[in-house]
């Protein structure tokens, strides 16, 4: 901290109001927000989607979309009001005094331009350097952003970069003109947790040495508290609480902040209460599941023998053929390599891994949506490969159902909610029309949705509500196993916590067994009993949740644990 004695704020946002014109309506996105940032300081703005946090950041850098405008208050940058300044004055500030690291590293680089050229553009536009000097500077900046072999990298195109590397390039661009303030808008939300940690660590170090102030926009309270000195919590366009990061985390005052602190998975995962709650759920679920198993073992119409291990996967391997160097050549790529595990009836096994680890491919093979190259999947004593008859296959479908990741793609937009939930009933010819309707009502009730949504369409529901509908659809046939493929990853933290709770309740009530695929180790503790850690298609570590959290054996698992943001912050309650 080289500016501790500096008492004039770098950025002061006073009573800022930002409105959007939507047709004839005027929507207020930011309502009377106050914010102060000093030189060299990191300030985090935390909130759910739609809370106005990004709008606030965009107002500061003068990048509001055409239908948005500052309708009240002022933004003082170094003492000058920039909210009502002329366009060219803001243009001059942008880049040179205020830098931006945008949210999505995939779409914020022009795919047709070399990465180096794009950074050079930033240098030239801000008059920092020109010609050969600029080329030299580009290489230095990339090195500084932590890209090895920067000279070669500068000549590459964005598609040759991984997501993390692109984000580093964007950071280099944001810092190119040595701004005094860097706005980082969810800079790592699209990245894997371990990459997120690396990048944030690097950003911290870089802004510290350069003395750049950072305005960090994030939805993750844990991450915000870990990285920032000062926190600003936004809710529905207003600042509901602000102050020193640790104070807020340990002693939240506003009910919204309390809610956030109690449900952020990165924080909740270290609480003992969540482990106790999980143990209770498991006890009840295992008991219910045992009753169901006894029924199944005597039933003719159901597949399976009522075994304790309802899904047994042995030496499962999937090899994809990729195009080789020449048209007639192909390269083998082992997406899943010799994976074995057991799912005990009434429990949850989580498969954790970063993108490309093969975890979703495992889920697809267990669901019999993708044939394995070798290895077996046994469902309650039956090998999936031996299920040849149509009736057997339909029975399997009844007893094992998926919930997918993307709430916007997992429901047919042309089907009403009623049609979507009733589809499995229709496909399996269950009951009369009246009975089906009663079942759909019952299912909606189970997932806590009002029955009025029956006639609505997916486009009118939020992501969390759609995910509830997807869960209701999965439960329509009374399955024993539900496979959740990143089922909560796309949701806001509060909604995520709510869906996790729902899944837990349903498990206890119905004795369900879950295979829970996730990239986020933080949610595992709230829902799972056993964990499988995957990396590059292989199982790295496999044991109980408490064992993995308290006593990880592998370095990779430890890395994943360390990367949970805010995991090390001592909590008050």
């Amino acid at each position: 901290m080289n500016a501790v004695n500096d008492t004039t704020p770098l950025l002061q946002v006073k009573n800022l109001t930002v409105g959007f014109r939507a047709g004839k309506e005027l929507l207020t996105a930011v309502d009377g927000a106050d914010l102060t940032i000093y030189r060299g300081q990191t300030v985090a703005i935390v909130g759910e989607s739609g809370s106005g946090k990004s709008t606030l950041a965009h107002a500061v850098i003068g990048l509001l979309p055409g239908n948005g405008h500052v309708s009240g208050g002022e933004i003082l940058f170094d003492g000058n009001d920039i909210a009502h300044a002329r366009k060219d004055a803001i243009m001059a500030l942008r880049g040179s005094s205020i830098g931006l690291v945008p949210q999505d590293p995939m779409s914020n680089l022009n795919p047709l331009w070399r990465v180096g050229t794009q950074i050079k553009e930033a240098l030239v536009a801000n008059g920092v350097a020109k010609g050969a000097a600029a080329d030299q500077r580009v290489v230095e900046l990339l090195e500084e952003a932590g890209l090895p072999d920067a000279e070669r990298r500068a000549r590459q195109y964005p598609h040759e970069f991984s997501g993390g590397m692109r984000q580093r390039a964007l950071i280099a661009m944001g810092l190119a003109a040595r701004p005094q303030l860097l706005i980082a808008d969810e800079p790592t939300s699209a990245l894997d947790v371990t990459v997120q940690k690396q990048i944030l660590d690097h950003l911290d170090q870089l802004t510290d040495t350069l003395g750049v102030a950072v305005m960090l926009i994030t939805h993750d309270l844990g991450l915000a508290a870990e990285r920032a000195d000062h926190l600003v919590v936004m809710y529905r366009g207003r600042v509901v609480e602000s102050g020193p990061a640790l104070d807020i985390l340990q002693d939240p005052q506003h009910p919204y902040t309390k809610r956030l602190v109690s449900s952020a998975p990165s924080l909740a995962s270290q609480r003992l209460s969540s482990q106790r709650a999980r143990a209770e759920v498991r006890e009840q679920a295992v008991q219910t599941a045992a009753e169901i198993a006894a029924e199944v073992s005597h039933s003719e119409s159901q597949l399976g023998e009522g075994r304790d291990d309802i899904v047994v996967v042995e030496n499962l391997t999937k090899i994809f053929k990729l195009r080789g160097a020449k048209p007639w050549q192909s390269v083998d790529f082992a997406a899943v390599d010799d994976v074995s595990f057991r799912l005990r009836r009434g429990t949850t096994t989580a498969i954790v891994g970063e993108s490309g680890s093969g975890k979703s491919t495992v889920a697809r093979m267990v669901l019999d949506l993708l044939p394995p190259t070798s290895g077996t999947v046994m469902f309650d004593g039956k090998n999936l490969r031996d299920l040849k008859s149509k009736t057997d296959r339909l029975r399997l479908r009844r007893q094992m159902q998926p919930v997918f990741q993307n709430p916007y793609a997992s429901l047919d937009p042309l089907y009403s909610i009623y049609q979507s939930i009733a589809e499995p009933l229709n496909t399996h010819d269950v009951g009369t029309k009246k009975e089906r309707e009663a079942k759909v009502r019952d299912l909606l009730d189970k997932v806590s949705l009002p029955t009025t949504v029956m006639s609505r369409y997916p486009g009118e529901l939020s992501g969390g509500q759609r995910q509830r509908v997807a869960i209701a659809r999965a439960l329509a046939l009374d399955p024993e196993v539900v496979i959740c493929d990143e089922a909560v990853s796309a949701l806001d933290v509060l909604v995520q916590a709510q869906i996790l709770e729902l899944l837990n309740d349903l498990q206890a009530e119905l004795g369900l067994s879950y295979l829970f695929i996730t990239h986020d180790l933080a949610v595992v503790r709230q829902i799972a009993d056993n964990v499988l850690v995957m990396q590059n298609g292989k199982v790295v570590e496999s044991s109980s949740v408490s064992e993995v959290f308290d006593n990880p054996r592998e370095a990779y698992t430890q890395r994943l644990l360390d990367a949970i943001p805010g995991g090390s912050i001592p909590l008050g309650a």
Binding site: V240, E241, G243, H254, Q405, L414, L494, Q498
Partner: protein
């Protein structure tokens, strides 16, 4: 870190200013809407749509009730009336052959629109089926259909039609109104389907990878059922747009063919034939209304269909729909 600087003191907003809402509550009062209902709502407020509908309703009236517009017989010609100026009941005068220009234009709508509508329907059906199969099954089936459609795509539409129609004309020299229309429709359809195939294939490729298709498979729906119930309905929007726009193109193509003397035979009243017959007037520069009236009818009809296509495109554009 303990020193708190001015402006960064602990602040808690009064609770009544931002009362907590239930997490992810459902708006119970909203009215249900699906893609088609929503599209209709947007169409209803579109000026383009009503303009197009207005034009097309007038054209439809011409087709089904020509007597509302003219009392004259389009086929009766009296050389005494050759190029006679407009008179009562004959607002645009007479052609070189002495037939009523307005009557011929009104009655000509039937052939032109019949060709356009029939060709569009056949092309859409062919294109949707081939495109859906190619996109859904992929692999060798896709390669075969795609390459086959590429071959047809690479042949210039009008040129190919000229060849096909001359062959058909020689094979069936005598045919009535519908026979003549059918020949033109068959020739146009034969070479126009690949456009819809491509569009459908692209849409199906995109949709078949969405999660709701996997979800339906996991429920136990068969491949065919999945294709029929989920994939095709979701892929239709861009095809409908392309079809509405191509309708106008087919009407123009028919007129071009007739103008060249290859479309509908001279005994069928059609705009293309009338424009063709009026060629000599362009050279002489006199009696231009003989050319102008059927040409204007053609242009307005095509405009009507293209405006409709544009309005439908706007209404179905996924970007315009709320997320």
């Amino acid at each position: 870190m303990s020193d708190i600087r001015p402006g960064q003191e602990r602040y808690v907003a009064p609770i009544d200013e931002t009362p907590l809402r239930a997490i992810d509550a459902v708006n119970v009062d909203a009215v249900p809407e699906n893609q088609w209902k929503e599209a209709w709502k947007r169409l209803r407020t579109s000026v383009l749509f009503w303009l197009a509908t207005g034009i097309l309703l007038v054209i439809a009236a011409m087709i089904f009730f020509p007597s509302l517009f003219t009392g004259a017989d389009p086929k009766s010609a009296d050389l005494m009336n050759s190029f006679s100026p407009p008179s009562d009941g004959h607002p645009f005068g007479y052609t070189q052959q002495g037939a009523d220009v307005w009557a011929r234009t009104v009655h000509g709508a039937r052939a032109s629109v019949a060709v356009g509508v029939l060709t569009t329907i056949i092309v859409a059906v062919l294109g949707i089926i081939t495109g859906a199969i190619a996109g859904f099954y992929g692999g060798i089936v896709d390669t075969l259909i795609s390459r086959f459609s590429d071959i047809f795509f690479s042949i210039p539409l009008l040129l190919a039609c000229i060849v096909v129609i001359s062959v058909l004309n020689n094979t069936f020299p005598e045919r009535g109104f519908w026979g003549s229309v059918f020949v033109v429709v068959a020739a146009l359809s034969l070479f126009a389907w690949p456009q819809i195939t491509r569009q459908m294939r692209g849409a199906v490729l995109e949709i078949k990878n969405l999660e709701f298709v996997d979800a339906a498979t996991a429920i136990g729906a068969s491949k065919m059922k999945n294709l029929r119930r989920h994939i095709v309905p979701n892929a239709l929007a861009p095809v409908i747009v392309a079809s509405t726009i191509s309708l106008g193109v087919f009407i123009v193509a028919e007129s071009s063919l007739s103008f060249l003397g290859l479309g509908l035979p001279a005994n069928v009243v059609s705009w293309g034939n009338d424009i063709s017959a009026a060629q000599s007037q362009v050279r002489s520069g006199q009696n231009l209304q003989v050319m102008f009236v059927p040409a204007a009818a053609l242009a307005i009809t095509v405009l009507g269909f293209i405006l409709l296509g544009e309005a439908v495109r706007e209404a179905l554009d996924p970007k315009a729909r709320k997320k």
